[in-house]
Symmetry: C2
DNA sequence: GTAGTTATCTGCATTGATGCAGATATTAGA
DNA sequence: TCTAATATCTGCATCAATGCAGATAACTAC
């Protein structure tokens, strides 16, 4: 809670909490469980992955991952493509970001767009520079969590 | 996927995906399911809530919400406090952000701290100004999703 | 070609989160 | 006080996601 404090770490903390809340709410609004939403975002962020890599990222067994891919495919979000180089492998490709996800995230995109639009060009440049670097930082941190779990 | 493009909307999109991924991964790393993690973040962000308000935010029935609070209380994350003004009501207060959550988020905090530290004072001021405004934008967007579900 | 390994899939069982319906306690109103 | 409404809790049943173990198919090395 906390009244609006100028303490940078508190500001940042609130920012993180707000994003987590919205992530989970938008998954639910899109009709997806956390695992499915995670997988879709992963595919969107890193491109096609094999079933095995998906299992590693999600922490599921390969069996459960098969079912995960089944669900996503059934929903039309994803398609299976056999790897021509190794036909045992199944590449999972994002077909299209589901419309329900777009609709769920639309409000946030609009509000954030309005916030960003209020800054001047140089400030916007700073923000987008940050977004790019922060995305990589998050990705690396997520990978660290994944590895810690396996290790 | 996309190669690193300068397109602002693509940058922002990747940033959002990366954050969603990390949110979900950190929940799992903290040993919490999505609902429980959502509730903890909500309490952290907005302060104590009644059981009923928690039900509204999570979209659970009141019965399921009772069980949610049970789990959080059992884990020592939260405590029930009777509202003296209306003794039917149960206020749910955050006891302490669980250590497992801290540990899960630590990597991201460190990496993001390093990213932010590279900017000059005025740029940092811009970033923190943004964080504050964005947090509110996310909160409002989350509330919109909640209301859309109920309405 | 045979053996061994790897990647994915399937059948079956389990479990945890949830909904639902009714119970209980408290408050508000006539 | 009696009644209705509200807030939370409990018992029971259900369902979806997952783990596990074994099956299948494909690749690799000899």
């Amino acid at each position: 809670m906390s009244t609006e404090s100028a303490d940078p770490s508190a500001v940042f903390r609130r920012y993180l909490s707000a994003m987590v809340l919205h992530s989970l709410a938008s998954a639910e609004a899109a009709g997806l469980n956390a695992t499915d939403y995670f997988a879709l975002n992963l595919l969107d962020l890193t491109g096609p992955q094999t079933s095995g890599e998906l299992a590693r990222w999600t922490g599921l067994t390969t069996g459960a991952t098969t079912r995960l891919i089944d669900r996503l495919e059934e929903g039309g979000h994803v398609r299976r493509v056999l790897d021509p180089a190794d036909r045992r492998k199944v590449m999972v490709e994002l077909v299209a970001p589901p419309a329900t996800v777009d609709r769920a995230v639309e409000g946030a995109r609009r509000r954030l767009g309005a916030v960003i639009a209020e800054y001047g060009p140089r400030q916007q440049a700073t923000l987008f520079d940050y977004f790019g670097r922060a995305a990589e930082a998050y990705r690396a941190s997520t990978e660290e969590l994944v590895e810690r779990r396996d290790g």
